[in-house]
């Protein structure tokens, strides 16, 4: 972990509007600082705004108000598809609870997909994807379709995909939610290793067992951060 701030948020608000015009405030003034190489867990009650905050960090959502500085640059007001797509492609890697692999593509092609959008050549792409599958110990499954892989294997493929374009930040939404505890622990080990390699990891979870792998736990409730460095109540 370094002292460089990768993510800084000032008074970030996010509201949804229902069809009748009613405003639903999901985030109500978030101030947040995350350093490079930090492994942060977002915890809190359901509906507390964890996933919304993660999506905002991932530039999948625009803000309603406030500032979001990504590596010092205010990206909270960016609406341009090219810039947003570039950030999601090169700066972020997403890992989802349900893996979200493309069912028609095999493991290798799934991993390589982000660099298709980045415009990388086929041989370079496949070389890099194979390296990642090797690192994550599933290169023997490279030609398998997602339906032919176990949950743990699928999540490894998904993590490999998130690393494809060598992003600075990994965003994970309940990455162990669909896994048994053994596979869940393995995924956490992978994340710990990535944090050691100076990747910034932000992970939404509601499980203390998973959260304890993080350097820091941020606790949210009702769209606000209650605790920037939450301590788990008991030993896990």
């Amino acid at each position: 972990m370094s002292d460089v701030l990768v993510i800084k948020m000032e008074d970030v608000h996010k509201s949804y509007y229902l069809a009748n015009g009613e405003e639903i405030k999901v985030l109500r003034g978030i101030d947040l600082e995350i350093k490079r190489g930090e492994f942060v867990a977002l915890m809190g009650e359901s509906g507390g705004g964890k996933t919304t905050l993660l999506n905002i960090i991932g530039c999948l959502h625009p803000l309603t108000s406030g500032k979001y500085l990504l590596e010092g640059e205010n990206v909270g007001n960016v609406r341009d598809d090219y810039t947003l797509a570039f950030i999601r492609n090169k700066k972020m890697g997403f890992v989802f609870q349900q893996f979200n692999l493309f069912s028609r593509l095999n493991a290798l092609s799934n991993v390589a997909l982000p660099s298709v959008y980045a415009g990388l050549k086929k041989d370079e792409r496949e070389k890099r994807a194979l390296e990642l599958l090797n690192t994550l110990d599933i290169s023997d499954r490279k030609n398998h379709k997602p339906t032919e892989l176990s949950g743990g294997q699928q999540q490894r493929v998904a993590i490999a995909r998130s690393l494809m374009n060598n992003p600075e930040i990994l965003l994970a939404d309940e990455p162990t939610g669909a896994l048994d505890s053994k596979n869940g622990l393995e995924v956490m080990e992978i994340f710990r290793n990535l944090a050691k390699q100076n990747k910034t990891i932000i992970m939404v979870t509601h499980t203390a067992e998973v959260a304890k792998f993080a350097d820091r736990i941020i606790y949210m409730r009702d769209g606000k951060i209650l605790d920037h460095n939450y301590t788990l109540k008991s030993d896990y």
Binding site: H61, N100, R104, L113
Partner: protein
């Protein structure tokens, strides 16, 4: 990058084969219809062209009036051709001939043919060419020579199709008990000037020989007039009418004892009706293609709805709007072009089958292939755009949430 996206689009289509096939069925039917229809259109045109190949647009045919109201005392005569040439302006040439049917035999073979009694400029005016032998001379006319030039159809019928036309020269035919020597053979002409009368199934003799010796009273007198150019045909017909009325000494109360028509206008009318028919059929096929485009649009909307989650994932891992747009656009274009190709193939298979039926004449046309293929690709592009555009503008978070 677009190659990869194209590949993904293709694989997506392959993964749902039945749906892809059903959605292009309309295109297949539409394209093959256009191809067959354009083929029917050009077949009809070709038939008309063949039929009227030797008709010049500058021709006017003058015939004797027959049947009701005919005046037997005054007839069209050979001299009328000269009258027309002298009195009517802008006439480049005219010739009179008699025609009738006669039985011709050679050895044991016998058949009925048209007999034309002609003068020496007949072949120039009617655009008929000699394959071998010699033309008729004024001497033949004066001596009422028993000689004939024969059409290729007559040679085929009486001498057999493998007969060398050179060897026909000098052979003797029997017409109404008279021996006639063949002095020339015409090149194959293919069509006919006036309905059932064929220049191929005919023989040509000196005017006097045909008129006096063979046909006698059973002949019909005709005059072909060639105008200097197409624009004079209409005024030419009016002038011929008045010149002949004066020549035949007709009173105002008497009707014409001759009739005439310009074959050129028949060609025009026939072509026009063939064009109208083609246009009508093409419009119907076009409607089929448009409807099939709506079908493709429908399928694309369903596809986009089904793959909403994929679109969300793709956006989350960095797909630009244009990447999503092009993927779905590729899919609809592959569908429509694929349908177009199959349609072209089906069309090419149908055409020869149709041609086996009596009375069908369909000419495969390159134009039809190009037309229908381009149109189907355009249909895919046009009707695929809106669903693809909608897909590209989906909110990534909403898309990810959908199941």
């Amino acid at each position: 990058m677009y190659f990869e996206i194209f590949k993904m689009a293709f694989e997506a289509l392959i993964s749902s084969k039945i749906r892809s096939f059903l959605s292009i069925l309309g295109i297949i039917i539409g394209v093959s219809t256009v191809i067959v229809v354009v083929g029917i259109g050009s077949g009809a045109k070709k038939q008309i062209e063949d039929q009227y190949k030797n008709l010049s647009a500058t021709q006017i045919m003058v015939m004797q009036m027959m049947g009701r109201g005919a005046i037997t005392t005054s007839k069209l005569e050979a001299g009328d051709a000269d009258v027309i040439r002298q009195k009517v302006e802008h006439v480049s040439d005219s010739t009179a001939f008699v025609s009738g049917n006669t039985s011709v035999s050679y050895g044991k073979e016998s058949s009925s043919f048209s007999l034309f009694g002609i003068t020496d400029n007949f072949f120039d005016i009617t655009n008929l060419d000699l394959a071998t032998g010699r033309v008729l001379t004024p001497e033949d006319e004066d001596t009422r020579a028993k000689v004939a030039i024969v059409g290729s159809g007559l040679v085929d019928t009486l001498f057999g199709e493998d007969m060398d036309s050179e060897k026909v020269i000098g052979q003797t035919l029997a017409l109404s008990g008279k021996k006639i020597e063949i002095i020339g053979v015409l090149k194959q002409n293919g069509g006919s000037a006036m309905g059932r009368m064929s220049y191929d199934d005919a023989l040509y003799m000196p005017y006097s020989t045909a008129q006096k010796t063979i046909l006698g009273g059973n002949s019909q007198m005709m005059i072909v007039v060639l105008m200097e150019n197409v624009d004079y045909v209409k005024t030419g017909m009016e002038e011929i009418t008045s010149a002949l009325r004066i020549e035949h000494k007709l009173k105002i109360s008497q009707e014409d004892d001759f009739r005439m028509f310009d074959p050129g206008s028949m060609v025009g009318a026939a072509q026009e009706s063939a064009n109208t028919m083609s246009l009508l059929l093409i419009s119907i096929a076009t409607i089929v293609l448009i409807v099939s485009g709506v079908g493709i649009m429908n399928v694309m909307f369903v596809t986009v709805a089904e793959r909403t989650k994929e679109i969300g994932i793709a956006k989350a891992i960095g797909a630009k709007q244009e990447n999503i747009l092009s993927q779905f656009l590729f899919e609809s274009i592959i569908l429509s072009i694929g349908g177009g190709l199959i349609g072209v193939l089906v069309g090419q298979i149908i055409i020869p089958i149709l041609n086996r039926f009596e009375g069908w004449y369909v000419v495969p046309s390159f134009m039809g292939v190009i037309l229908s293929f381009t149109f189907s690709a355009f249909v895919g592009l046009f009707f695929g755009f809106y669903p693809a555009f909608k897909a590209s503008r989906l909110d990534p978070v909403d898309a990810l949430r959908s199941e």
